[in-house]
Symmetry: D2
Subunit: 388 residues, 4 copies
Amino acid sequence: MSGETRPLGVAAIGYAFMGKAHSQAWRNVGSFFDVPAFERKVLVGRDGAQVAAAAERFGWQESATDWREVIARPDIDVVDICTPGWTHAEIAIAALEAGKHVLVEKPLSNTLEESQAMVEAAARAAGRGVKSMIGFNYRRVPALAYARNLIGDGRLGEIRQVRASYLQDWLADEQTPMSWRLRRETAGSGALGDIASHAIDQVQFLTGHAVTGVSARLETFVPRRPGPDGVEDVTVDDAAWLTLALDGGAVASVEASRMAFGRKNALRIEVYGSGGALAFDLERPNELQFLDGADPVEEQGFRTILVTEPEHPYVSAWWPQGHVIGWEHTFTHQVRDFLVAIRDGGTPSPSFADGLQVQSVLDAAARSAEARGAVVDLPSASRATQEA
Amino acid sequence: MSGETRPLGVAAIGYAFMGKAHSQAWRNVGSFFDVPAFERKVLVGRDGAQVAAAAERFGWQESATDWREVIARPDIDVVDICTPGWTHAEIAIAALEAGKHVLVEKPLSNTLEESQAMVEAAARAAGRGVKSMIGFNYRRVPALAYARNLIGDGRLGEIRQVRASYLQDWLADEQTPMSWRLRRETAGSGALGDIASHAIDQVQFLTGHAVTGVSARLETFVPRRPGPDGVEDVTVDDAAWLTLALDGGAVASVEASRMAFGRKNALRIEVYGSGGALAFDLERPNELQFLDGADPVEEQGFRTILVTEPEHPYVSAWWPQGHVIGWEHTFTHQVRDFLVAIRDGGTPSPSFADGLQVQSVLDAAARSAEARGAVVDLPSASRATQEA
Amino acid sequence: MSGETRPLGVAAIGYAFMGKAHSQAWRNVGSFFDVPAFERKVLVGRDGAQVAAAAERFGWQESATDWREVIARPDIDVVDICTPGWTHAEIAIAALEAGKHVLVEKPLSNTLEESQAMVEAAARAAGRGVKSMIGFNYRRVPALAYARNLIGDGRLGEIRQVRASYLQDWLADEQTPMSWRLRRETAGSGALGDIASHAIDQVQFLTGHAVTGVSARLETFVPRRPGPDGVEDVTVDDAAWLTLALDGGAVASVEASRMAFGRKNALRIEVYGSGGALAFDLERPNELQFLDGADPVEEQGFRTILVTEPEHPYVSAWWPQGHVIGWEHTFTHQVRDFLVAIRDGGTPSPSFADGLQVQSVLDAAARSAEARGAVVDLPSASRATQEA
Amino acid sequence: MSGETRPLGVAAIGYAFMGKAHSQAWRNVGSFFDVPAFERKVLVGRDGAQVAAAAERFGWQESATDWREVIARPDIDVVDICTPGWTHAEIAIAALEAGKHVLVEKPLSNTLEESQAMVEAAARAAGRGVKSMIGFNYRRVPALAYARNLIGDGRLGEIRQVRASYLQDWLADEQTPMSWRLRRETAGSGALGDIASHAIDQVQFLTGHAVTGVSARLETFVPRRPGPDGVEDVTVDDAAWLTLALDGGAVASVEASRMAFGRKNALRIEVYGSGGALAFDLERPNELQFLDGADPVEEQGFRTILVTEPEHPYVSAWWPQGHVIGWEHTFTHQVRDFLVAIRDGGTPSPSFADGLQVQSVLDAAARSAEARGAVVDLPSASRATQEA
């Protein structure tokens, strides 16, 4: 449990891409946000020399190679899991059972079964005041948090149509080699789980409506790639197309690809309602396009709001208007919100249950794709997203 | 048959939106393009007074109310059909059998049966040197014609992914009243046939690949609207989502809507290949976005080509570079190409068969939607689009 | 004087670039706008064969080579002067004295003296009900006409700053040869008179404030170019920079260039007031950027208004929303406004006096440039622009 | 002198806006870049309690209130001056004379005399191996550093025209109160020194050409504002317009404003050469527009390069492609370059002499404005910018 008389002790597990991003968040959050005191105690990884160097570089007090020992330490109150998805369940459940607050990178896990077990562990822990959260960091892009507010305030009227895509191109080259991300046994799926998941989460986060049915297609454009031991089969999708029914009657399209030449990190979302519209592109994360249908028709147009005013979510902590922030700042906001929930006793959002729900959508998508696109219905979901 | 010693005599049927656009094309084409001599003989419509006024306004020598009489006239060589879809088959077949060259607005007709009969009539007529063409006018946007050239020249490599949408918002207001476009018996379908058809044609035109399978969803967000005799059921779709398999292995998504608040005439197309990418938006029709994958990676980016150079298709006829043209000019280009084919003996493109093929895709989409998205395969198509 | 019982007879003089654009306007205006009846009587040019071909191509009833004969004809009521600037004064004054309504392309003339004489002739003619107008056609871009309305309605508050530029690149290549446009004796000046003039007119038109002082610099980056008889000196400016004081206290910057690589016809204008801002780019003429300072700060942003709604100036005559028009349509609007003024008795705007006033600014700019930028004051001008 | 056997000891002076930004740079640089070891020893400020809190918040080991004591400390090797301009000279000269490496925020100082003394002190210190640098941080925007490389590699040919502006709007509201930035005695000048200076530095940095002559206008649109003791005169400019002659023959325009409603931090630069063009906007700092004139004309267009590839300057240290950085990262890059120069013995750039040269341009601008725009020539400058 979090200590009341000493700073929270934080351990992070994983020091690759996500570990680096989370470390940066932990290093900076206290300089900009009012959060409870904490100490960056220990960074955990499998390779002792490498994790020691990373801990030094990113400013952790110590490094360690055995996560089990770390979560057993009484001076550790918070565990931040940045390892690949197939390891999440075991670590997270153990940490929760040890009474540690747990932040876990998306995906919650690679299987519905594991995720279900994680949700149950989180529920048990919550009863003891132990917090858990999943890291859909794009909820903390100020422009998207603000977009959600606009929609929540009814500025778009009834939501009818959402057009989302997440396009990257790092696999456009046929010679890009195999990696664990391209094998089903380690990655679960390809573009679907890795990036469509973010788009699906945004669709539900922004609209406040849960997916009730999925039609999908998956495609592997480059089915064989060079591996360490010769040419190897790619066993996950390069691209995914989903059509989603939402409770309340809206329809969303989601397209994800790692083959979209020239798109680097283009999570794009357009939301159309009966009273207005919004558009966003993660390659320009400080901007939100908003069309207010309450304006006279001759004055209507998508306005480019530079989401850098103190009135915008998270922004007042940073720099004066017009001085933009970057991708990494979303992780800082995420840690801020998690720490505040630990201190103030709220329920962090998105929850493990939210993570499981997104995975249910991905699972339905995979089944629909196997059924050549026929809709797979999801069980009547409780409202997918909770108020932040 | 077209006269050799006198100007071609042209009759246009219909004087509403499309009749106005086609009339504008006929009036202007001769001033900018080298086309065979022709005379704007007669404009045909049901209401005698109105069609007379329209003929006067748009510069036709005469008006008439009986299209049968007009196509029987020996001084008429070309018939341009701008009436609603349900009337196309009867007029077009009669005109072709009377030996008149026929240009028909899209859709070819409202049913596959009628369209099949039209294709057969066109084939018979072609044997006698009589030309026919369907008006997918967006093939004549210079930026799109140029895009097709770039793809045809291999500048994008192998095409993998196409992302197309056609978004409008004229039905976003629930109080917009009923019209023939919202009743199945007169319109056939809604956004699907009206605008998704353009997007589908572009997908095939640009890539040179035909659709082989369709998964679709249709939605009517506002199911009842005020009609002349009280509230009435809307019996066509407000929006449509399609996922298309193309021969050669590419996948295309198509989204069409009349409810996308703030989008006025947004036919947007992105094409991703193994060697580059393109993007286009009909709201900025003079621009083409092109990313050339042959550039060094640090120099790559979508370049905004202002498609107003004399080197670009159709442009040299108009104004100096940077002096943009408008939506209406696509019809002028269409008439130009049709007249040139009549004079030079080529086969106008897109043909009635191309129109039928697009309708087959729409029909498959409707059937897939009824089957909750399960893919409907199309018969192995001959290549959908012919060289212009 | 214009006949009351027969259509107005129109003569156009000049059949090159501007003659083509004006001819297109005269051909189309009657099909889209409610204007008094007129006939395209005669096109005048120096080369008999060429002008005859042009008349045939653009739809004039006759051609002629002697403008004096034409303006003497009793069946001619309107004279549209599209020849180079050095010929304007003689033709326009003669036509006005012959009682013909005169529309003259910008510049009014090449010298202040000639322009002054034209203004006087116009004033005398006005007393007899004869109309005159100068063709600053960009006032008839719907987006700019609408911008003026927004400013006139006070939506930008007090205007403080205008940032205007007109950038082209047709001289960026050093090998582009000499032409009459690059010799002072025929062109008067270079980028200054040709395109900065449009920007200056817009500054005054949009804000309703006249220039009171000018600081300027002129530059000829490529001082010698290949001519028909060998290398020749360029005697006009390639580029011009102006800083303008406006009555009322605003300041405007104007930059014009024919050397701005990649800019094809980029007349760009930004207007900043105490209550909002506007931005426009002629390469996207159907769009206006508007920021409304009355919105809450967190909702403020430049909104891209697609100026294609029936509520926008001139637009209802054309096509449905989102179906954009082109550069040439500005000339159609210009002819429409001129014809309506002839019919309804209003004063066409911009007047010859407005043309002279712009030339005074250009003259002051040239003098300031000779004085190495020291401000040249303009005489207290009456308000430069009149209400349309 | 910097220690060889222990980490460099760093002191920062000032903890307001710039102190916060510099502190953030010092905290993060070591985690991303290979720099010599250093310790964040002490943060200095006038208010003991506030500076102590800031030191705690931003991660400095200690705080202090007397900068003289701090620069006398043997464990301090580097002094980073983030205080207002009027304090720079005294601190910087004292620190240099004490053998400390000095990084000073722009402006170098508020007067030419002070700046001249600083340059002399820097030259003396350099002889003893002591480094100095001025913080024109926008040179470290990856897109601008890359732009300079493109120009330096000749990709734009001969530079002819630069169009720069720096537009903000924090003074658009007439009720925004007085502050030290609006009084001449504390700020020196207004928009001119504060932001036009950045634009001028970029013009010279990007092109490699120094300003040789200046024509300028300054304007104070709101001459009186509410102050702590009632309404007060604003004694600096709200906006500035400059036309700059550059050695080599190019011309640059610079416009700076704090009144440009809707522009938040819009440093915009367009560079036109005989072989291509570039454009940049600081509100989208991760993007560079590049038009390559070597492409066939029909393929030319401004390409939007997302400057987030590992091949781009500074980027490989951060995140994968498409994961954008923010405004603050420019300060991290600045500190990185300074530390590397200390370690490797190079000459940091921009130097104090570069800062003085920019101030000479500002001074010439002020004198030209007093002379109503007449050009003020600058002494034949040695090349303004040095190789980075």
